[in-house]
């Protein structure tokens, strides 16, 4: 457990040194969401109706952005071998990487989503459900993303392969996430999102761990 925390700390320290990489996905999220009022016009009724979908799609795409470096840098410079030989199980490495990815990408997105949704004229009553859905949703996306990043590791074009692999897998999160923010009684949708998280939490690190072992061969 202390090793897991040490690995998360190492990831965070590295991310802070590479500050531009870290804020890139947040900036991407802000820019993409700001493009929608420009493209579809500032009419509050149209924007307000589209706001949950815009926030969710932009968050999904922003989550993908840092994934190719999640294991890529460690794979190229030999650090992955050292991690696998640290005594941590591959599953533990993947779990720590997921946690770091969420702290560096999911959490800032979650914090920015509220102001962005208000900028997009979301109905105030819908905002809590949107954010409540984004919490389990972004964690699930980080877990899925870690698994995807580990599985495409060592392939010739990981950057192209990764979105093609992940976006279909992420559709349930997107569907229930936006649905939660478009109904007056979002409880079933939020429970389904939590169920997705509960399924992803053990399965994704397991798949990611297998991918890491395979990549190290």
């Amino acid at each position: 457990m202390t090793l897991l925390l040490a690995l998360v700390r190492r990831e965070l320290a590295l991310a802070l040194r590479h500050g531009s990489d870290t804020v890139a996905s947040l900036l991407f999220f802000l820019v993409v969401t700001s493009l929608f009022p420009l493209a579809i016009g500032p009419s509050p009724t149209t924007l307000g109706r589209l706001a949950p979908g815009i926030v969710w799609v932009a968050a999904l795409l922003a989550t993908l952005l840092p994934l190719d470096r999640l294991f890529g840098a460690d794979f190229e410079d030999g650090s992955l071998d050292q991690l696998l030989l640290s005594g941590l199980s591959p599953l533990g490495i993947a779990a720590a990487k997921s946690a770091a990815h969420w702290l560096l990408t999911g959490l800032p997105l979650l914090l920015a989503a509220g102001p962005i949704a208000i900028m997009l004229q979301i109905a105030p009553a819908r905002l809590p459900a949107l954010l409540a859905g984004l919490l389990p949703g972004t964690i699930t996306l980080s877990l899925l993303g870690t698994a995807g990043a580990a599985l495409v590791l060592g392939s010739r074009r990981p950057g192209t392969l990764l979105p093609l692999l992940l976006l279909p897998l992420a559709t349930p999160v997107l569907i229930f996430g936006t649905a939660a923010a478009e109904t007056d009684a979002p409880r079933p949708e939020l429970l389904l999102l939590t169920a997705l998280l509960a399924a992803a939490a053990p399965l994704c690190p397991l798949a990611a761990g297998a991918g890491l072992r395979a990549a190290a061969e």
């Binding site: 040490a6 700390r9 040194r17 190229e76 030999g78 071998d81 640290s86 005594g87 061969e217």
Partner: protein, 201 residues
């Protein structure tokens, strides 16, 4: 580390459908050293990765204290300090920070490990500014830090100057004197007294 014995029984490795080596036998007792020699592409690195558990053997068995070593890989990993061709150094971190994770694995002292490789002065310097030889020494400091009984060193003398090679020889001797095991893949001459030679290819 008194009873640590590594034994290879008929190891074989296949890479990309090509047989790299087969029927490899050796035994390494506490304090023992094995030098793996052979031309480029003979499978020296493959053998080291196989012993580290990063690569499953195509045939044969690797035994540690008489038991199959590769059954529990995370446990096996704790016996090993591995130096690959790559130094696994993060240029964004300082020398001391680069060893931070390894220190939390072993509980060893970063300052002592850096001093052992004559890097104490550079502890707070960003590894981006390091020369190839200094990076190699930093990677070797990680080995010293690990406290693992079995050192696997893949071309450890790459980029090292003569003083650093002498330093490495002293560190290996000290590790062996404490009952540790060393396997070195090298085409350069590294003087290890009473080492067994294993020639591949």
């Amino acid at each position: 580390m008194g009873t640590n014995v590594l034994r290879a029984e008929g190891l074989a490795a296949i890479r990309a459908d090509r047989l790299v080596f087969r029927d490899l036998f050796f035994t390494l007792a506490p304090g023992g050293a094995l030098i793996v020699r052979g031309p480029n592409g003979a499978g020296k690195s493959t053998l080291l990765r196989l012993i580290a558990g990063l690569l499953p053997p195509a045939a044969g068995q690797l035994c540690w204290q008489g038991e199959n070593a590769l059954l529990d890989l995370p446990l096996h990993a704790r016996r090993i300090a591995y130096l690959g061709h790559q130094d696994a150094i993060k240029p964004a971190l300082t020398a001391a920070e680069n060893l931070g994770f390894a220190a939390s694995v072993s509980g060893g002292s970063i300052a002592e490990a850096l001093a052992a490789l004559d890097l104490a002065r550079l502890a707070d310097l960003s590894a981006r500014l390091f020369s190839a030889g200094q990076k190699r020494r930093l990677a070797l400091a990680r080995i010293v830090l690990s406290k693992a009984p079995l050192w696997l060193l893949d071309e450890p003398t790459n980029a090292l100057d003569l003083a650093a090679i002498a330093c490495l020889a002293r560190l290996i001797a000290a590790h062996r004197a404490a009952g540790g095991l060393v396997i070195v893949a090298s085409h350069a001459e590294l003087s290890l007294p009473e080492a067994t030679d294993l020639t591949l290819g």
